[in-house]
C-alpha cells in the first residue's frame, strides 16, 4: 500500500470481497526528520495515508523496512545501467526483485496466500495449458503490464491485481464510494526516488563519475563535449549544449569510449531490435516468423512486428514500420492482443 488511490482501492475491494487482508507498506529509504530528501513515493505522508486507509477499511497495517534490499536491487542497478550507457527502468526491478520477491517471501511468512498490488494489469490462468497469463489492464491509458514482464509462473501464481479490470475513473469512483481519504489524490508519474526528474544529479549523489568526453555526430566527427555519459538517454534532445540548424538527438551512447553520438531525428529510427534475458510468460517462445506487437518503453504505442530469430533467451524482432528511440536498457515487451507473451532487455547491437 503506497498510500495512493490504486493500491488503496485494491486493498479495499479485496477486504469487501471477504478476503483476509493484511496491509503492507514498504519503507525504501530513511524517513527520519532531517535526512536528505530522497523521493516522493512512500514518504511519511504517503505512509500516513496508507495507515488511514487501512484503519478505515479495518485491516491491520504494517510498514516493512526494505531500505537495504531497495538499495541493493533497484538503486544499484539504476546507477550501473546509466554508467554503462543504458537507460534503466527501475520500476521493473522494484516489481520483479522487490515486490514479487522479498515482499512475497515476507507475506508468505505471515501466512498470506497472495500479494495484491495496485497495478493496472491482469493475471489469468489459461485453462488449456494451466499457465498463468499476464494481461494488460483494461484501461489502455494506465496499463502497467510493461513493468511486470519479468514475473515468472511462481510469482504470477501468488499475484493479484484487483484494479486491473477497472479504468482509472472507476477506481476513483470506488474510492469515493468506499469513503477513502485518498480518492482525489494526485498520482506520481516520475521515478519515485528522482522526484525532481534530475536523474543526473541523483546519480552524481550516488557517486557516478562526471567524466567529460566527446559528443560526436553520426559520421564520427567531434562536435561538442559532455560531462558524463550518465547524463544522457537515447532520444534525448535537451541539454546537449550544441548549436545546430536542425534538432539533434542522442542516437547512441558508448560508455567504454565515453562517447555520446547525436544525429537528426531520422537517425533515431530503427526497424529491428535485439532483446536479451527474455522471459516468456505465456509458454514456449514463439517460432521465428510469428507476428506480435512490441512495446519499447512505457508510453510507447505498441508496434506490429515479426519475430525474426531466437537464440536461447535472445530474440530478434523486425518492426513493420521503423520505430524511434530504441533505447538500450529499456524493455521490449511482446504482446499477442491483450496477453503479454514475454519481454526482454533491449540490447546495444542490432
Amino acid at each position: 500500500m503506497s498510500g495512493g488511490v490504486d493500491s488503496s482501492v485494491a486493498a479495499a475491494l479485496l477486504a469487501r470481497q471477504g478476503h483476509d487482508v493484511i496491509g503492507l507498506s514498504m519503507q525504501l529509504y530513511d524517513q527520519r526528520e532531517g535526512q536528505p530528501r530522497f523521493g516522493t513515493c512512500c514518504t511519511i505522508d504517503d505512509l500516513h495515508d496508507a495507515r488511514r486507509v487501512a484503519a478505515h477499511i479495518g485491516i491491520p497495517h504494517y510498514i516493512v523496512n526494505f531500505e537495504r534490499q531497495f538499495s541493493e536491487t533497484v538503486i544499484s542497478n539504476f546507477v550501473e545501467e546509466y554508467a554503462a550507457g543504458r537507460t534503466p527502468i527501475p520500476c521493473v526491478h522494484c516489481n520483479g526483485d522487490l515486490k514479487f520477491a522479498t515482499l512475497v517471501a515476507r507475506a508468505e511468512g505471515l501466512g498470506a496466500d497472495f500479494v495484491a498490488t495496485g497495478h493496472y494489469a491482469r493475471v489469468e490462468r489459461d485453462g488449456a495449458t494451466g499457465r498463468y497469463l499476464l494481461k494488460r489492464g483494461v484501461d489502455a491509458a494506465k496499463d502497467q503490464s510493461y513493468f511486470l514482464f519479468t514475473l515468472d509462473q511462481a510469482q504470477l501464481a501468488h499475484a493479484m491485481f484487483p484494479v486491473g479490470t477497472l479504468d482509472k475513473a472507476a477506481v476513483r469512483r470506488h474510492a469515493r464510494e468506499l469513503g477513502l481519504q485518498v480518492a482525489e489524490k494526485h498520482e506520481s508519474q516520475e521515478i519515485c526516488f528522482v522526484p525532481d526528474g534530475d536523474h543526473a544529479a541523483f546519480l552524481e549523489r550516488q557517486g557516478a563519475a562526471a567524466a567529460a568526453g566527446a559528443i560526436r555526430d553520426i559520421d564520427g566527427r567531434v562536435i561538442g563535449r559532455h560531462d558524463g555519459v550518465h547524463r544522457f538517454t537515447v532520444g534525448q534532445r535537451k541539454g546537449l549544449g550544441l548549436s545546430s540548424p536542425i534538432p539533434l538527438y542522442v542516437v547512441g551512447i558508448d560508455a567504454v569510449a565515453n562517447t555520446v553520438t547525436v544525429g537528426p531525428r531520422a537517425a533515431l529510427e530503427q526497424s529491428e531490435l535485439t532483446a536479451s534475458g527474455v522471459n516468456w510468460i505465456a509458454g514456449v517462445a514463439p517460432a521465428p516468423g510469428a507476428r506480435l506487437t512490441a512495446r519499447i518503453r512505457h508510453r510507447h504505442r505498441e508496434a506490429p512486428a515479426t519475430m525474426t530469430g531466437i537464440e536461447g533467451d535472445t530474440v530478434h524482432v523486425r518492426f513493420d514500420e521503423p520505430q524511434s528511440a530504441v533505447a538500450p536498457g529499456q524493455a521490449a515487451v511482446f504482446y499477442d492482443g491483450d496477453v503479454v507473451l514475454g519481454g526482454g532487455w533491449i540490447a546495444k547491437e542490432i
Binding site: 524517513q31 527520519r32 526528520e33 505512509l47 491491520p60 510498514i63 516493512v64 517471501a105 511468512g109 501466512g111
Partner: protein, 383 residues
C-alpha cells in the same frame, strides 16, 4: 484473542485511575494557580497527587516537579543542569540510555557541552570502573538509567552515585522503567535527580515527574508563569496528574506481591521459550533485572517479521526502538552490549504487566514455537 506483552511501551490504565482522571476532568476544571475556590480545589488535587508520587520513591512532596512525562523529565534534568553548571561542562550518560537522554545529550554536545558515553558490559550493566574511567573534575552530571527499557537490567545506581559524587558530579537516574516494578527509594539510590512516567505503571499518558533533591540547583527549561514553584511553567494537567497519584498509590501498595507474581510469569515465559524453541537466547543479565521484562533472540529470524506474525496471531510484543515511520532499527542497547549485528536484528522484547496470566504465557510460548518454525522454514527455502 488479544494478548498484550508490551508493558514497557505503555500499560493499560487501572480502573481506579480511569475513574480518577474522568471524575477530575469533569469536576475540577479550576486553574491550580487561582486563589479562589475553583483554584483551591484543583490545587488540593495536585497536593494529594504530589504526596502519593513522593511516597512511591521515599521523597518529600516539595521535591516533586510534575512534567508532561518521562521524556520531559529527562530533558529537564540534563538541560537544567547544563544551564547552571558554568565551568563544569562535561556530561556523562550510559550507552544504553533511552533516546530521551541520549538525544538530549547529543543536542547539548552541539551547544558547547563536552559529552562522553559510558560503555556497558556484555550483560548490559555499567561497571563502576567504567564510570570511574571517564569521570573528570569537569563532570557536571552523570545520567544512568535505573532499569533498562529493552532488556530490563537494573544498574548498581547507589554504587555509581557514590563514585560520581566523590568527583563532585551530580547524578540523574531515569527510573521510568523501574518505578512501580521494583522498590525505588531516592535515599537508598543516593541520586540527585530522578525521572518518572505515569503511564508505565497503569497511570495516564501525559503525566510524569522529575524528583529534584532539595537544594539542587537546576534551571527551568519551560519558562513562563510561576507554576511548580517556578521550576516548570505551564498550567498543570490536573486530571492526568491526579491519575498519576492514584497509579503511584496502587503501585506502592502491590509492589511486593505483583513483583513476585510477574517474576514467576516472566520466568515461565522465558523457560518455556528456551525449552520449546531451538536457537534462542536471553539477551542481557538475567539478574538483577526488573521482574516483568525479557529480551530474547531467535536465530535465523528477522525481528520485524516475527513481530508482525505474532501481532496477526493476536500477540503484541516489540523490539527495541521504532523510528518515525514505524519500522525497526537495530537496537542501540543490544549493539552497546557488543552483540553481533544479526542478534540485534533478531531479538524481541516481551514485557508483562497487571492482568497477564499463566494461560496467556503458555499460549504465547505455543504460538511463538509455531511462528518461528514457519519463518525459519521459509528462510531455509532460500527466500
Amino acid at each position: 484473542m488479544r494478548i498484550y506483552f508490551d508493558h514497557n511501551a505503555t500499560t493499560p490504565p487501572a480502573p481506579e485511575v480511569i475513574d480518577e482522571v474522568t471524575s477530575r476532568l469533569a469536576a475540577e476544571f479550576g486553574n491550580a494557580s487561582s486563589i479562589h475556590y475553583f483554584g483551591q480545589r484543583a490545587k488540593a488535587v495536585l497536593d494529594e497527587a504530589r504526596s502519593q508520587v513522593a511516597g512511591l520513591i521515599g521523597a518529600e512532596p516539595s521535591e516533586i516537579v510534575f512534567t508532561s512525562g518521562g521524556t520531559e523529565a529527562d530533558n529537564f534534568a540534563l538541560r537544567g543542569i547544563a544551564d547552571v553548571s558554568a565551568g563544569r561542562l562535561h556530561l556523562l550518560a550510559s550507552a544504553i540510555e533511552h533516546e530521551a537522554v541520549l538525544n538530549t545529550l547529543k543536542a547539548l554536545g552541539r551547544h558547547g557541552c563536552r559529552t562522553t558515553i559510558i560503555p556497558v558490559d556484555q550483560t548490559g550493566i555499567v561497571r563502576p570502573d567504567a564510570l570511574a574511567a571517564v569521570l573528570t573534575d569537569e563532570t557536571a552530571l552523570v545520567s544512568i538509567m535505573h532499569a533498562n527499557n529493552e532488556i530490563g537490567t537494573v544498574q548498581p545506581i547507589a554504587e555509581l552515585a557514590r563514585i560520581a559524587h566523590a568527583r563532585g558530579a551530580l547524578v540523574h537516574t531515569d527510573a521510568v522503567q523501574s518505578a512501580g516494578k521494583i522498590p525505588v527509594d531516592v535515599k537508598t539510590l543516593g541520586v540527585d535527580l530522578l525521572s518518572l512516567s505515569a503511564h508505565k505503571f497503569n497511570g495516564p499518558k501525559g503525566a510524569g515527574a522529575l524528583w529534584i533533591k532539595r537544594g539542587t540547583r537546576l534551571a527551568a527549561i519551560l519558562t513562563g508563569g510561576k507554576h511548580e514553584r517556578n521550576r516548570r511553567a505551564g498550567t498543570e494537567n490536573v486530571p492526568a496528574i491526579a491519575g498519576f497519584g492514584v497509579a503511584a498509590r496502587l503501585a506502592r501498595a502491590k509492589l511486593a506481591s505483583e513483583g513476585a507474581r510477574l517474576a514467576a510469569l516472566r520466568n515461565r515465559l522465558e523457560e518455556g521459550i528456551l525449552a520449546r524453541v531451538p536457537g534462542t537466547a536471553v539477551n542481557g543479565a538475567r539478574e538483577p533485572r526488573v521482574p516483568n521484562t525479557t529480551n530474547i533472540s531467535f536465530e535465523g529470524v528477522e525481528a520485524e517479521s516475527l513481530l508482525i506474525a505474532l501481532d496477526l496471531e493476536g500477540v503484541a510484543v516489540s523490539t527495541g526502538s521504532a523510528c518515525s515511520s514505524g519500522t525497526l532499527e537495530p537496537s542501540h542497547v543490544l549493539r552497546a552490549m557488543g552483540l553481533p549485528t544479526h542478534r540485534t536484528q533478531n531479538s524481541i522484547r516481551m514485557s508483562l504487566g497487571f492482568g497477564n496470566t499463566e494461560a496467556e504465557v503458555d499460549y504465547v510460548v505455543e504460538r511463538l514455537a509455531g511462528v518461528v518454525g514457519k519463518l525459519r522454514s521459509l528462510t531455509r527455502a532460500g527466500r
